[in-house]
Symmetry: C2
Subunit: 425 residues, 2 copies
């Protein structure tokens, strides 16, 4: 790679300023609440559309509300797509999702600024309802694109407050007429904050994400017998709370000590009647298993089933319902190698890693070569107003996104990056 | 004891009928809710007052609302007192408390029916706010009598819904003018359902209660760090939920395996933010220790403190607040022996046992020789609309109460029961 082939630098000041500006939309205490398809989301989308146009892109909106900003290439093949989302959780940080979209716009600015059209089209996408807070399932816009859910089914989804995706899209003016499969990408790259502590703890600036771990979510119910806490001897109890806690500790320890699965979380536990002087008669808990290896996930699920069987043998009613499951997703090895080479070329410290969280990229991985770039999250804090990434780290990530896009779109066909399948799946 | 000295039998049919009649007051689904000093409580009190008068007793009400029905004896010494309470928890059974009061009225009926006045006065008491659901502390009427709380302080207690004991007593017409210390008893006997499974499981009809175990109640708070369940490796977590559950299991196991203390209950546990995909940052749990031995209670409290110290050493903030504590109460050994002898004389199966629950008798034990009689509770279920005791078992308990009262009040001074201190403490 010759120095002259390196694109000019992203405008870090503008990148950080726009993150701050978008972060003001939906301001909610120290954070911002910009749930999908609310007036706050509309206000955020309007900002993005304006910035896309400012970067020279043609803006299109598809029938599930995904926004695209396109910079046409010299050939009319499928675009190199960069993107993420701008909807948020409740009282969120300013970086999750927004960073990938705004950094993508920076890439468009840089490509436009060269004056000469790149070989391939480049598009920036902002996908609808990634967080899944207001409408279930999450990753909705990318899920439709990947045909993981039918468009009509997605449009008919009701929120917990009784609103429907189609009507809410219409209300905010983002029910587009583009087919969600019109702009299927040749390659997809998502730049995102890590949302975990690994990069921050190790002082490394760039994470090249090889895979999104799969998850397996369970709701467990244990029924025992509520009894008087003072009068019921220990050996005559059927304490559903203790039974649930024993299961929780066992699953936690399997992950913590044996790595089966990589992470296991008991995020929620409640007991009934939840009174200081009553032995719990019922307990509910949730289990969140995640692992990049499908077999490890299955092994953890077997452990849960064994725990439940033991509880039943001890006289409890015990059942578990799977409320969400996804298999691990592997990203494109050649694209990961390209990211690694490009980071090295730019002098950035980088490591390969996993994504623990879900991202639109895992949907896109089903339809085209896909990878993700992570930058550090301070203390790993995310989904929280205290989410923070240093401006310099934000700029490095955007620079890697720019240079990699340039390799793919401008010089790709002549620089020997042959591993990237550019055809649609 | 000559057969002629055995009093006539209690009227089991009337006893069971009245339990049913009082049990209709405050009907609430399958149970009844007759919280202290509510209109429902007034309606129950009115029934009791009528039945006391029907049994030939003089009815008096003291300044904390305790109701007394008195049958004067030939001498004017302090009375043999029988009693319990008629206030209930929410959606309660029909037996808890009410049984002791209504059986006491049966005893008065039988004593009145003999026509000859007994040596000592006999009084039946229905104490105010035993359950403590609406006004804290519990055992309020007997607590005032035992000077465990000042009368004026008791009258000023506010309920959680903003009402004051004094005004509520006045509103329902039970703010009496009798001094709560006017009728201090020579002896106190409380007949009660067991509220635990011991008698029911062993097929024994009578429990002679030697002691009320002490209790030690704690609210524990653990602060860790909330984090993303997918992205935070197990070794970088400070999972407050797991820390709390480990403490809970440790305390539970100490009781279940080593009897330290006799019973330990984690009745309540909550975690924050209580979301399936967030590592809990905070956990709250309650601990209920009970033991008839003060030293065992203290040992359990030391175990809790050690658990908290270990949690702190592991980086958590961990604290515990004692929210209620009572030392064990031993009942009068001579009175327990008298109950045992009398049960044997009546051909009733009986065993010595502990009370796991609190009762007015534990307050009375501070001022006069006191004991309790238990009858079986089906499956140990109590504080529940499914509370049940067979009519035959109810009749046996009332019969033992009658015969023991007769031993104390009619023939007591001549039958060699010298162990019972009849003086006030």
């Amino acid at each position: 790679m010759k120095p002259s082939e390196v694109a000019e630098e992203v405008n870090a000041e503008r990148l950080v300023r726009r993150l701050g500006e978008l972060g003001e939309v939906g301001r909610d205490g120290a954070g911002r609440t910009r749930l999908a398809l609310t007036p706050q989301d509309k206000e955020g989308r309007d900002l993005i559309v304006g910035w896309l146009r400012e970067a020279g892109a043609q803006v299109k909106v598809d029938r599930i509300g995904n926004i695209y900003g396109c910079l046409p290439g010299r050939n009319d093949g499928p675009p190199i797509m960069l993107g993420s989302h701008i909807d948020t959780v409740v009282r969120a940080g300013a970086y999750d999702g927004c960073y990938g979209v705004i950094a993508g716009i920076e890439v468009l600015h840089c490509l436009s600024a060269t004056g000469s059209r790149q070989q391939r089209s480049v598009a920036v996408a902002a996908f609808t309802n990634e967080e899944g807070v207001r409408f279930t399932p999450d990753l909705l816009g990318s899920r439709v694109m990947a045909k993981n859910i039918a468009l009509e089914e997605a449009l008919d989804i009701h929120s917990s407050d009784g609103n429907v995706v189609r009507e809410e899209l219409e209300r905010i003016g983002y029910l587009g007429d583009l087919s969600p499969w019109e702009l299927l990408p040749a390659v997809f790259l998502e730049l995102h904050i890590e949302q975990g502590p690994v990069l921050d703890a190790s002082g490394i600036g760039i994470g090249i994400v090889e895979a999104v771990q799969g998850h397996s979510w369970w709701r467990v119910v244990i029924d025992g017998m509520a009894n008087h806490a003072g009068t019921t001897p220990m050996d005559l109890r059927q304490d559903a709370g203790v039974a649930a806690m024993q299961i929780a500790i066992k699953l936690h320890n399997s992950a913590a000590k044996a790595g089966i699965p990589r992470v296991a979380t008991i995020g929620s536990i409640t007991v009934e009647p939840n009174a200081i002087n009553v032995v719990p008669g019922k307990a509910l808990l949730t289990v969140d298993f995640r692992d990049p290896d499908e077999e490890k996930l299955r092994e953890a699920e077997r452990l849960l089933e064994i725990s439940l069987r033991k509880a039943r043998e001890a006289g409890f009613r015990a059942s578990a319902e799977c409320i969400s499951r996804s298999s691990p997703v592997r990203f494109d090895p050649a694209l990961c190698s390209l990211l690694e080479q490009t980071a090295a070329h730019l002098g950035l410290s980088a490591r390969r890693m996993l994504s623990g969280a879900s991202h639109d990229a895992q949907m896109l991985a089903g339809i085209c070569p896909t990878a993700m770039i992570f930058v550090p999250s301070r203390l790993g804090i995310s989904h929280n107003s205290r989410e923070h990434t240093e401006p310099a780290a934000l700029a490095q990530g955007a620079q890697l996104l720019l240079e990699t896009t340039r390799q793919l779109a401008v010089v790709g066909e002549s620089n020997g990056i042959t591993g990237i399948r550019a055809e649609r799946v």
